[in-house]
Amino acid sequence: MAMTDDAPLLVANGLTKRYGHRIGCENVDLTLYAGEVLAIVGESGSGKSTLLQMLSLQMMQTRGDISYRMRDGQMRDLTLLNEAERRLLMRTDWGYVSQDATLGLRMSVSAGGNVGERLMGLGWRHYGNIRNEALDWLDRVEIDRNRIDDAPRAFSGGMRQRLLIAKNLVTKPRLVFMDEPTGGLDVSVQARIIDFLRGLVADLDLAVIIVTHDLAVARLLSTRIMVMRDGHVIETGLTDQVLDDPHAPYTQLLVSSVLQA
C-alpha cells in the first residue's frame, strides 16, 4: 500500500491553453498528492482560472496532458476517458465549488434534493436513506436540519456556498476543485467557511486545488502554493515559505500589496 500512497493523485505536464494568439496559460507542470491542498494565486488575467478549468476537464487544453489515479489505483490519461467515464469521475470522485453557488445548485430544488442528487445518480433508490444522508451533511456544513425542504433560493450567500460544498462532498470525492469559494462573501462569513473547510479537508483527507486572489485564504487553507502571472507559473513552494520569503519580484509585490488591517 505504501507504493500507492506515495503515488501522486494528479499529474499535469506542459499544460497549455491558447486563445488564438493569446496565451491562457503555458507549460504548466503540476503534481498533486492525496490529502494535499494546493493554492493557485495570481491577479485576474494571470491564467489561474484557465488552468483550473483544464484540470477539472471543463475546458480542453491546447497541449499537454493530465493523468489521474482512479479509485482502482490505476493512473489514467484523462484525455483518453470517454464521455461517460469523464462525467462519472466528475460527479463521484471529484467536486467543483465555484464562486457562484447558483451555478452548482438547482435553485428550485430543496436542499435535501440538491444533496441527494449525486446519490440518486449513483443508483440510490431508498428515500429514507437519501434523506438521512442529506441530514447528516447539513449537520456537517452547519445548516439547520429543518431547512432541508427549503430551496436554496431562500438561503443566504454563505448558506448556499455551504450547501454547494455538501452537495459536492456527499459522494466522498478525493479531489475538490475550488474557484474563489469565498469570493463575494463578507469577511466574517468567509472566515467561518474557511474554518470549516479546514476541518473537512482534514477529516476527509481531501485533496484540494483552490484558485484564489486572496493570499490570506491561500495561507489559511493550503500547504503548497503556485504563483501565476501572464499565463506562467513564476514561483512554487510551501505556502508559508513562499509567502514569508518570496523570491520572484512579482511575488514580493503581491505579498507586499496585501492591505494590513
Binding site: 464521455e83 461517460a84 462525467r87 438547482r106 430544488v109 430543496s110 435535501g112 434534493g113 441527494g116 442528487e117 449525486r118 446519490l119 440518486m120 445518480g121 449513483l122 433508490r125 431508498h126 428515500y127 429514507g128 437519501i130 434523506r131 432541508i148 425542504d149
Partner: protein
C-alpha cells in the same frame, strides 16, 4: 358507421403527401427499433393548432391504410370536441371506417387515456404528446437532456420524485408519470393518468407517441417492459377509487367526477365511455343510472 373508400375531396389519402408519410414512417421505424428513444422528425403544419394533437394526427396519417378502422378518444371519451374533430378529419381525408368500440378498432388515437379493455396484438395506439422530454422541467437545455439520455444519467428524474415526497409525503405526480423502457430509456408516457402506466407494460399492441410542436416521435413495440420509476420505500401505486362507476357499476377503472347540479350533486363515472356503454348494454347498472338514464343512457352511437 361510415363506409370505406375515399370521397372526392381533393386531399391525398390521410391528408399528408406521400413523401412526408415516408419521412414519418422512417422516424417511426427508428423509434420502434430503439424503444423509448425520442426520434426527431420534420413535423408539418397541420390544419389545427398545436396542442390539439398535431403529432398524433401525423403519426396516424402515416400508418393508416384503407382497411383500417379508426377510434379517437379524448380523456377516454369518444364524443368530446377533440375526438370528434380528429375523427371527422380522417373520415374526410381518408374515408376510412371509424368506430367507438375499442375491440373493433385497428388504430386508436388517444389524448391521455388508454382504453380499459386490454389492447390486442395487431392494434396500434397513437398518443398525442405535448412535451416528450421527461427531464425538461429539471433541465431546460435540450443539448444536456439528450446527453443525459445518451449516457443513461437519470439521477435527476428521481430528484423530481424525491421533491414530491419531501413536499407532499408521497409521490404526488399523478399523470405524465415517468417510466423506464426496457431497462434503458426514461420516457414520458404523455399526460395519461399514472393509473394507465401498468397497461403500457408488456402490451401486445404497438404504441406510438407523436409530439407535433416538439417534433419528436417515440414508440413502444409490442411486449416491451415498461416500469414506473419509484423508491424502494415509496413504491409506485396507481390511483384508487372508493366508489364504483355510477352508471355501469365498474370497479378497478379510471373514473371522472361529474357535477350533476349546483346543489353539490355529483357522481363518478367511467372516463372510458365505450367501456361504460358496453357494460350497460351487457346489463350492468350503476346506482345513479335510474335517474340519469334519459341523458346518459346506454345507446351506442356512431358518428354524425
Amino acid at each position: 358507421m361510415n363506409s370505406p373508400g375515399p370521397k372526392a375531396t381533393g386531399y391525398n389519402f390521410g391528408y399528408l403527401d406521400e413523401q412526408t408519410k415516408r419521412m414519418i414512417r422512417r422516424a417511426i421505424l427508428k423509434a420502434v427499433a430503439i424503444p423509448g428513444y425520442q426520434v426527431p422528425f420534420a413535423s408539418r403544419e397541420m390544419p389545427m393548432p398545436y396542442g390539439w394533437g398535431t403529432g398524433g394526427v401525423q403519426v396516424t396519417a402515416a400508418v393508416i391504410g384503407t382497411e383500417d378502422v379508426l377510434k379517437v378518444i379524448d380523456q377516454g371519451s369518444d364524443d368530446t370536441t377533440n375526438a370528434v374533430s380528429i375523427r371527422k378529419f380522417f373520415v374526410r381525408t381518408s374515408g376510412v371506417r371509424t368506430t367507438t368500440s375499442t375491440a373493433d378498432a385497428s388504430i386508436i388515437q388517444t389524448r391521455h387515456r388508454i382504453p380499459e379493455r386490454p389492447l390486442q396484438a395487431g392494434q396500434i395506439i397513437v398518443y398525442q404528446v405535448p412535451i416528450p422530454e421527461p427531464l425538461r422541467f429539471l433541465e431546460p437545455r435540450e443539448t444536456e437532456t439528450r446527453r443525459m439520455h445518451a449516457l443513461e444519467e437519470y439521477g435527476l428524474m428521481h430528484v423530481k420524485l424525491y421533491e414530491d415526497i419531501a413536499r407532499h409525503k408521497t409521490i404526488a405526480t399523478t399523470y405524465a408519470y415517468p417510466v423506464k423502457v426496457d431497462g434503458r430509456y426514461v420516457m414520458d408516457p404523455s399526460p395519461t393518468p399514472k393509473f394507465d402506466n401498468p397497461k403500457m407494460d408488456m402490451s401486445p399492441a404497438l404504441q406510438l407517441f407523436g409530439a407535433g410542436r416538439e417534433k419528436r416521435i417515440y414508440a413502444l413495440p409490442p411486449y416491451t417492459k415498461v416500469k414506473s420509476l419509484d423508491f424502494d420505500d415509496h413504491p409506485f401505486e396507481v390511483n384508487r377509487f372508493t366508489t364504483p362507476c355510477g352508471l355501469c357499476n365498474a370497479t378497478g377503472v379510471y373514473l371522472d367526477e361529474v357535477i350533476l347540479d349546483d346543489q353539490g350533486g355529483r357522481m363518478f363515472a367511467c372516463s372510458d365511455t365505450d367501456h361504460c356503454e358496453t357494460r350497460r348494454v351487457d346489463g350492468h347498472r350503476g346506482l345513479l343510472l335510474g335517474d340519469a338514464h334519459g341523458q346518459v343512457g346506454g345507446s351506442r352511437h356512431g358518428d354524425d
